[in-house]
Every structure is written in structure tokens, then in C-alpha cells.
Symmetry: C2
Subunit: 379 residues, 2 copies
């Protein structure tokens, strides 16, 4: 058996062809034909009203931070068990972060702990759909509404995933918050190397989003003939990915069904082979009741960090690359410079015990069987 | 004669081939093989010590702003006649901008006016090498050193351009400031659709640049084995372009000589055909004595905005697209919200009178002849 990497980007066939088409069209800067095709795809498939491709999910979060007009001293509520960009986007604008613990059995933010953290200064609740699995959005949305603060879905891992709403509806993740952000980094289900998208569901932010995206100018109004010259009217930045990236992404989106169906097979295969057979102390990931599974990730939860380190080494010895994930941000040296140490036991537990198994489109049945057998033999 | 656009991106041949290679290598996120090839190219060709590809020149400027630790109330000195991103990057961190006028005969910052604008709060002088032509760097560098403030070269248009130093040396633009930023937007000489680069010439900033580029984590140290886990240690963002973009860029860089030689032919051709033959009141662009010409742009300076508007319409009637450039930022509605109106007559003059002619690799001799004859016939 050859080395099994943790990730291997999958190319669905038309990527180069569409990039060539972008060249043939003579436009490779942003916001061209393929960017529009991607925006339309998301609108038609998931009902996302205003989609804006960005160069990364990080950049999409930074756009949110500017749109929310975050000022020094404003507060943001976010889970501790997440990627740094979830909060850095707000810290860059001067925000203080109030970190919330995870659920005992899932890394998602424990919604029951949110309200106590809300203050007069709170500007937004940022939830992260870890492993593409929905947070408790009904409850969190009602909290945000009650306190008149924005809800942001960091949906970096949550493409093509859904929330079972209390009214019985299946709602696509990314369509509920005032804003949602997606990643197309090569480790995600749908990729463009680097890349991201901002979804704006609250129409109060549409017009300013256009300006901020155009480096703080009213260029879009100029092209619509609403002003005769465009000029500097606001802060802003460059968030547009090249048409090359959009063309690549579009080829992936055309294959969404196929990619997702294959990934779900892989996930199910892992689950069936490991369910009830895991070595002592190791548990399978659990899916919240209100969430669907978009097969972004397959992870195990070990008893402690020692066991996890041993399992990583055991797998490595058998040429299988497995990787842990986040260090809880509330314990980071950067956060502790200006905040007191506190205990968020579940975030800390997942920081020490969560282990991700190889997961990519081209992972074969034999490889999955081999990985599972290697895990089952671990003592 | 068919429509002649203002710009047409040029593809030098290997772009798709190298993007395919990136796919074949199985890595399309940032900082891979082709990113390193680009960094090495710039180091070898221009002596830029620390190069970091970014998703745009705007993003490179934002990285500078973070590295300089710009705080609310800090001041930045910059020309008024420039693109909004030159200053937005600093405004996003809370800086106030002190705008400086252009030279009478060139849009570059008038270096004689800089010192009077320096205060205790000044953190950086940002110069822009307009049309790829060097600012008076000896003088400005000595000012920055005297006052112990950073010098930033916004070299968005200045790839492969040089400064004749007083000591007789030809110094590549981008190698003198503490920082320099380049653009590879499709309107530039060397392109990747969207794209940019940060050059760091002051080694005090190397280590923090690595961290900020890694979203505020010490991931680079982790990969070098200097720490056993990487974590949140600073602010940061996502600045990496995909390997697809780097692969595209590398194909362009391999053809730098050819691209530049063709562009210089086009520039010389414009100059020879128009020199001494321009309609009354219209002048050719002038090149500062201490600057080389990288053939980024060919522009005319009209007598006033009326004449320019008429010339644009005349050219448009003959199917030639010509475009004006910046509105001086000191007169923008955004700046005037928090600053008093002032007069910067030369920046205002170029705002009203500068006109850029079609300029791209595939512009033919016949097209240039036709454009020049059409201009000469303008009354």
C-alpha cells in the first residue's frame, strides 16, 4: 500500500477547458463571465440572494467586518474551536472576541452559552458549521433577532449542507445568517485552489457591499450610468478573484452532484466499517439531529491527547496521514495577551482529541478498508 | 478598421501548460512550486530580497499597513493622483492621509513638498511610480531616513523599470523602499488576471510578514520544526494566490524580455508618430530625467477637460477607446467628509487632462498609425 495522504484535490474534468475559455474571452481579471456563472449557480441551487466570489473565505469574513462597521471596542461572539480567520477578520477592525465553548459531543458552538455573552457592545454572533454540520440556527437566529445583532455563518466547510428547521424545512446552510462565508480552498468539497464567497442575505448591505468590493469606489454605479465618473466614496479593498479561478470553480460546480455523491459514499463506508469496532476510548464523530451531513470530513474523537498522538503515529507507521485540527483560540498566546485565561472544556477536549482521517474523492474502497483495519488493530 | 480597445490581455503561450502542470502536481492552493519559481525569478532578476505573491497589489499594501502597525491617528503621506488602494490600505487601519501634489510636468509626487507634511505622527511615505516611471527616490529615501519613517513604493505599474541613482547606478524600482508592492492585474505589463506581490527590503519585517501571511499563525515555524504545533500569535489574513495564478504568472515572467521589448516598440512608435505633430494644446507625456521607461502606458496631456472630452469623443467616433485616469483623491467625497478642501493644482490638472491611449502587446503598426493619424486630425 502506498502512502495515503490526508487530502488530494480532485479535478472534475472541465477545469482547464473553462480556464482556456476565459483566456479566449480575453478577460481574466475579476467579475467576468465565469464569476457570473458561479453566482447564478449558487442563486439557482441554494437560493443565496447576493453572492460575491472572493479570493478566500478569510477575505469574505473581512468584507463582513467592514460591512458591519466594526469599531475598536465592539464585541463579537464566536466559538473557540475554529480557524483563526473566523475571528481575525474582526480583530483587524478592532473587535474584542468573546469565545464560547463547543457542545460536549460536537465542536459546534453551544448555543445555550451564547446569550450570557451578549452585551451592549456585541455586534455579531459568528457561528461555524464545523465539518459542514449545521449549528442550531433556529435558536441562534432568534437570539440575534432578539438582541438586534447580526448573525454570520462561517460556512467554510458547509457547501451543500442543510439545516432541518423546526418548521420541517431543509434550509441550505449559508442562507440564514445576515451573511455567510464559504471557502473553496483545495481542502474543501468544491475547490478553486484558493478562493471563497460572501453571501449576503440581508438586503440592507447590498449597496455598500458593491462599493467595498470595488475598492471603496462607486464604480458599479458608473457602469450602470448612475454617475458620470466614479470616485472614492468609502473604505474598501480588492476581493475579486481572477476569472481563471472562477472558471475553475465553475467546472467543479457543474460536478457538484457527482462529487457529493462520491464523498457521501466514502463517509458511509468509513462509518459502516468503524461503527462498533473502534478500539477502546475512541469514538465516531456524531451528527447533530438538526443537521445533514455534507461529507466534508470524517473524524474520530480519542480519549485524550496521548491516545491521539499514539494513533497518529500508528497510522503514520502504516503510511496513512491523519491530522488533528484547531488549537482552541481562547488558549492562544495572542488572545491571552489581552484576555484572562478561562476554561472552555469541550473546545479544549476537541483540541486535544479530534483526529481527521484521509478524505478525498479519489480515495478507493481498498484504501478505506486498509485505513479502517489499521485503526481497528490499534491498541 | 475594427474597434481598438484600450487594453487586451496578452497570453505568451505557456500559461495553460503551466496551470496544467500545477494540477498534475496535485497542489493548487498557495505557496507551492510555481509561487517559489516566481519568487526566485524576481530575486534573480531584480534582486528583490523577500518576495511574497499576493492576490492583488491592494492586498500587498494592506500587508504593509499591518506590518507597519498602523494605528488610528497615524499619518501617511501619499500623492493625491493615485488609485484608491494606495491609501485605502492605510485608512482601513485608521490612518489619516496627507495628500501631496504632483510635479507640474509629471503625475509623480512632488518630493519638494513632502517634508512640510511630515509630523510626529507620520508613519510612512508612500510613493507611486506613475506609468512605471521612477519618483525621485534618492531625495525621498534620504527624507524617510532623516525622519525615521518607512518608505513604501507603490510600484503597481512599475515592473521592470529603473531609477538612475545619483551614484550612476540603475536601480530596479521596488528594491529601494522598505516595502514595494506590484500589480499583475490584466491591465499591467506582466499579468495574472488579478494578482500582486509584496517586496520586503527591510529585513526587520521578514519574520512578522511570514506570520501575517499565514493568517496570524506561526505555521511557517511549525513546518521548519521550530515549534511543535502552530497557533494564533498575531493578526493576519489570507494573502496567498492559488498556484494556478502563480503558474500563469510564471509563464509571463519567462517572456518578460519579449513582452517588454514589444511594448517599448509600441511606445517608441507612438512617440515618433506624434512628436511635433500634436494638435494645439495637447502635449506628449514627459519622462523624468532620473527614470527609465517600462512602456507601461502612453498618455497625452490636454489643455483642459473640455478638450480631453472632445478628444475622447473624436477617438470613440473612430472606434478607438481612450481613457482618462484618476480623480485626485483629495477632492473625493470620502476624503472631504473628514478633511478640509485644499488645492493641489497639478494633481487636479492631471485629473482633468491626462488621456491614455490604447496600449497592449498585440497592437499592430497599422493600428498605431491609424490612432496617431486620428489624433493628429483632431481640431
Amino acid at each position: 500500500m502506498q502512502n495515503i495522504p490526508f487530502n488530494k484535490p480532485y479535478f472534475s474534468g472541465n477545469e482547464l477547458h473553462y480556464m482556456k475559455q476565459a483566456l479566449d474571452r480575453g478577460k481574466i481579471s475579476g467579475d467576468g463571465y465565469f464569476t457570473q456563472k458561479c453566482h447564478d449557480f449558487f442563486y439557482n441551487r441554494f437560493g443565496f440572494k447576493k453572492c460575491l466570489l472572493t479570493t478566500s473565505c478569510t477575505d469574505a469574513l473581512e468584507m463582513v467586518s467592514i460591512l458591519l462597521d466594526i469599531q475598536p471596542g465592539d464585541e463579537i461572539i464566536a466559538p473557540s474551536y475554529t480557524f483563526v480567520s473566523t475571528v481575525n477578520a474582526f480583530v483587524l477592525r478592532g473587535a474584542r472576541i468573546k469565545f464560547i465553548d463547543s457542545h460536549p459531543n460536537h465542536p459546534n458552538i453551544n448555543e445555550q452559552l451564547i446569550e450570557a455573552a451578549i452585551s451592549q457592545k456585541t455586534k455579531a454572533i459568528v457561528v461555524v458549521h464545523y465539518a459542514g454540520m449545521a449549528c442550531n440556527l433556529d435558536y441562534i437566529q432568534s437570539l440575534a433577532a432578539k438582541h438586534n445583532i447580526a448573525l454570520v455563518e462561517d460556512a467554510a466547510q458547509a457547501m451543500d449542507s442543510y439545516y432541518h428547521s423546526h418548521n420541517g424545512k431543509m434550509i441550505p446552510l449559508g442562507s440564514i445568517g445576515d451573511f455567510a462565508t464559504f471557502s473553496f480552498h483545495e481542502t474543501k468539497n468544491i475547490i478553486s485552489g484558493e478562493g471563497g464567497m460572501l453571501v449576503i442575505n440581508n438586503k440592507n448591505y447590498y449597496e455598500r457591499a458593491e462599493i467595498i468590493r470595488e475598492k471603496g469606489t462607486n464604480r458599479s454605479k458608473f457602469f450602470r450610468g448612475e454617475v458620470d465618473k466614479y470616485s472614492w466614496v468609502d473604505v474598501g479593498s480588492s476581493f475579486l478573484p481572477s476569472e481563471l479561478i472562477a472558471a475553475f470553480l465553475y467546472a467543479q460546480l457543474e460536478n457538484l452532484e457527482n462529487i457529493q455523491s462520491k464523498r457521501k459514499e466514502i463517509w458511509d463506508s468509513y462509518f459502516q466499517k468503524l461503527n462498533g469496532k473502534l478500539p477502546s476510548g475512541i469514538e465516531l464523530m456524531s451528527i447533530p439531529e438538526h443537521a445533514t451531513n455534507n461529507a466534508h470530513m470524517f473524524y474520530l474523537v480519542c480519549q485524550n491527547d496521548e491516545q491521539r498522538d499514539l494513533l497518529i503515529m500508528h497510522l503514520k507507521k502504516h503510511k496513512i496521514q491523519s491530522v488533528f485540527h484547531y488549537l482552541p483560540l481562547h488558549l492562544s498566546s495572542y488572545y491571552l495577551k489581552t484576555n484572562n485565561i478561562e476554561s472552555l472544556p469541550n473546545a479544549e477536549k476537541f483540541g486535544s482529541t479530534l483526529l481527521r482521517l484521509p478524505f478525498f474523492y479519489e480515495l478507493t474502497k481498498d484504501q478505506i478498508e486498509y485505513i479502517c483495519q489499521t485503526i481497528i488493530r490499534f491498541t
